[in-house]
Amino acid sequence: MAAASVFERVLDYANRADPYPLYRELREKPVWREADGSYVVSRYRDIVALLHDPRLSSRNVGLGGFIHQDPPEHDRIRRILDRHYGPPETPDRIDRMEPDLLEIVTGLIDGFTGRTEIDLVDDFSYPLPVTAICRLLGVPLEDEPRFHAWADAVIDGLGPPAHTPEQARRKATDALAEMGEYFAILIDAHRAVVGEDLLSAIVADASTREGMSRAELTANAALLLIAGHETTVNLITNGMLTLLRHPDMLDRVRREPEFVIRTVEELLRYEPPVHFLLRVALDDVDIAGTTIPADATIHLAVASGSRDPHHVPDPDRFDPDRHDLERIDVDARESQHLGFGGGVHHCFGAPLARLETQLALTELALRLENPRLLADPPPYRPNPVLRGPRHLRIGFDRVRPAEEIGIPRSREAADEAARQLG
């Protein structure tokens, strides 16, 4: 049997905790051809070019919803979903969620009171985005156990096709079908009783309701729910893990209110929640002298691209200040990263994920006294694409009560609290 390729070693669970040395190996060659006939591209410039290359398709590489469609269908669905979610028609929905999100964060941290140890994943990083996506979509939180199981099944079936057992793929398909039924019922409920949520807005508006089929609506609602579940949890967990490995940075998050904005950008570059994107070539595509033939599957190693030293200097250093766009010696182009992909499929939930993570890391930094990792590296989830810890045990001396740092409060009060700490 041939030796495992670099990409196969990336997929190997044994390398889940630190795939970055393997990404360095991947970048030594612009294009790798795998034994199954697929290709791997890992350098920043090549990935950016391919994300904007109309000869690449996202179809038939996944499990439904607009992320696995091409223009014009993709663009049509996304515009309809955007209408009540973001600009141009509803620019401030996410911005208006900030107090709500802060309340969820505060409530979760309040729940740590009296304890000196938590599993950040189960106690915080998972419930936060789940609660947020449920409120946004209008999904009852009490149904969480059901869609938790569905989401797990779907994610397990989402791995690289050649490396995902048939049984896992079937379970994923079944889970999606059940989610479709669930959402069909939920959507009827929202038509009867219109809430403030996104699904209510979509079904209450004839132009959006009629702009896509019922099947499209349920499939995309399921997609948003899963995406809202499975990615931000990793961003928040990776964030706290990285900050606890860099206590000086955690301290700056605590003391400099604007620092968290850069921190989240750097996390998206340095420890992104999504490591690979999948595409199919519709035509022969030349990359640095190698021709990827039509119909080939292409793995875009986005987490590798964001650490490409030909794009960003000293890429393995966690340095939020490289995103300080007010600094005269910062080259803004080097601050770009692939944390949310790029091109027409750029992450739909990015604005929500950024805001959630900014608030989450700030509040954890302000309220946990003397936090520390109890296991490093932590145990990881099996998925190599949506990579993140399964558990993250954190110890601390105590939880500062919310009132101590002025909660409930405005962001201005939070700044003031941070200044006093500083």
Binding site: D53, P72, G86, D95
Partner: protein, 528 residues
């Protein structure tokens, strides 16, 4: 705060509008307008927005007390370059000044500008400023490091003495230089009849003062607006008028809006956008006369189609004139075509000899582009001003072997009628076009332009994310029509004539004097 968005880089992801909806506003799916000088209460959201931009197109002002950076000494700077004068204090001039300091130029820097204002962004003037969202007085460009420049604002340059190496100012001052950068840009082409142009209600849109005046007039809800010329500025003004609910008639001599820049084939799509927005669009029509009342207020326009329109406001969007009059008699090859220069931004003199101390950048420059048969071209594009200014600045303080050529592909955008129009390459340098992606009926498409079997440009309507791909095809001299299997292919990919109308040539009248090679000289009698 001060910020500017590089809308060439912007691909319409909308992340800024999510993060700071009070500062950034999407227009349609890809167009972006913004408040260039938001209040400090927006600071956190602006920082979030700038960090969230996937292409880092938002440029913020640098912190005054940022980390001190040792400026590297310029690599082998030419001796004797101690005084640099930049004439033109707008985008190109300012960018060049920052580039000079960034590259380590430590000598004296003088910025000469005819307007009394510090450098400002003109982009919002035909959009958010006219609409009333952002006051035209508040579009100042972000400042970078301390420029340590000597500013002469409101003080136009009136002459150039090349022998003495001095710029003459209106107040009689003579400013000496070792290196000069000409970045005087263009001004709006005025309505040709002076008396009619002087009527109250007749406007052009180029400078801040123009936009302030026109905005006041539009805010007073005029009965009917006439836009003369359906190029980019005219179309943007018409678009704003419709958003404000004002009745507007657009007349253009050509067959369709934007036909001069993009060809009539694409122009007809733009014409549908005008009409769908409720514009009374009249192509192949011109204005014979603007008529005022006894008080000098504009009242009527007489059109070539025989009709008379009652109008209160007329916007002459007739293109531009290059600001070269001050160079008359300087011995430079300057005329209506601009100031001719090489691809390293060095000005040509009237003999066609390249100078070594005078550089040109921005709208006023006319330079050869190898990709386009080495033709001399002037590009009145934001991106060209930025790129060329950087090249000119570098070359001004570099020795010959270290100089850079200005070879970037031209890029351009316009935001109108809720649609973002972008281009890469030179669309007028084409015979045919083919729609390669999307649908012209939906006004979401990519059109590739070609000439002599190779792709020379691409234009997108709400498809800006694909533009760079086509830029790479142009850079590789890829064949036209492009043979690609792509997403979102239209039913047919049959090239059609681009219907580009040749721009009228600009003539120069030159006399030759002397007989011996040492005496032979050109004399520019008339610069077009």
């Amino acid at each position: 705060m001060r910020l500017v968005v590089d809308l060439n880089r912007c691909q319409g992801y909308g992340q800024c509008a999510f993060a700071a909806p009070g500062v950034f506003r999407m227009r349609g799916n890809e167009g972006l307008t913004y408040d260039p000088n938001p209040g400090d209460d927006q600071r956190r959201k602006v920082l979030r927005a700038a960090a969230a931009c996937p292409v880092r197109a938002i440029v913020l002002e640098h912190r005054a007390r940022g980390p001190v950076v040792a400026t590297p000494p310029a690599a082998a700077a030419p001796d004797g370059v101690e005084r640099i004068v930049i004439v033109g204090a707008s985008l190109a001039g300012l960018r060049a000044a920052y580039a000079l300091r960034r590259e380590g130029f430590a000598g004296s820097l003088t910025m000469i500008g005819d307007e009394p204002y510090e450098p400002y962004d003109r982009v919002p003037l035909s959009k958010q400023a006219l609409e009333g969202w952002v006051p035209a007085q508040r579009t100042a460009l972000p400042r970078g490091r301390a420029l340590d420049a000597d500013w002469r604002l409101g003080q136009p340059a009136v002459g150039l003495d090349r022998r003495d190496k001095r710029v003459l100012l209106a107040d009689g001052e003579r400013v000496p230089f070792d290196r000069l950068l000409i970045a005087t840009g263009v001004r709006a082409q005025p309505w040709p009849n002076r008396d009619e142009a002087a009527l109250d209600g007749v406007y052009t849109v180029r400078d801040r003062d123009d936009a302030v005046g026109l905005r006041e007039r539009l805010a007073a809800t005029p009965g009917h607006v006439l836009v003369i010329g359906a190029g980019f500025i005219g179309s943007e003004v018409a678009s704003v008028c419709r958003e404000l609910g004002l009745p507007v008639t657009v007349v253009d001599r050509g067959p369709a809006p934007l036909a001069g820049a993009l060809g009539a084939a694409i122009g007809r799509i733009a014409a549908e956008m005008h009409r769908d927005a409720g514009v009374d669009l009249r192509c192949e029509t011109s204005v014979h006369a603007l008529e005022g009342d006894a008080h000098g207020h504009l009242r009527r326009a007489r059109l070539s189609d025989g009709s008379t329109l009652d109008v209160d406001v007329a916007v002459a969007a007739l293109g531009s004139r290059r600001n070269v009059e001050w160079l008359e008699g300087s011995g430079l090859a300057a005329g209506r075509w601009g100031v001719a220069c090489d691809s390293g931004c060095r000005a040509f003199d009237v003999n066609g000899l390249v100078t070594d101390d005078i550089f040109v950048a921005g709208d006023v420059a006319r330079f050869p582009h190898p990709v386009y048969d080495y033709q001399l071209m002037a590009l009145e594009h934001w991106g060209n001003a930025v790129d060329q200014a950087g090249i000119a600045a570098h070359n001004m303080i570099s020795l010959a072997p270290d100089r850079w050529p200005h070879l970037t592909l031209p890029v351009f955008w316009s935001t109108q009628f809720g649609t973002e129009i972008k281009s890469i390459g030179v669309p007028t340098f084409a015979d045919e076009i083919v729609v390669t992606q999307g649908s012209t009926a939906d006004r979401r498409f990519v059109a590739a332009y070609g000439r002599h079997g190779r792709i020379t440009a691409a234009v997108t309507f709400d498809h800006g994310m694909w533009l760079e791909f086509y830029g790479r095809l142009i850079e590789r001299a890829a064949p036209f029509p492009p043979r690609l299997r792509t997403v979102d292919e239209p039913p047919t990919r049959q090239p059609v004539p681009a219907e580009i109308r040749e721009a009228p040539p600009i003539h120069a009248t030159v006399a030759l004097t002397g007989h011996e090679p040492s005496e032979r000289r050109a004399v520019l009698l008339h610069g077009g």
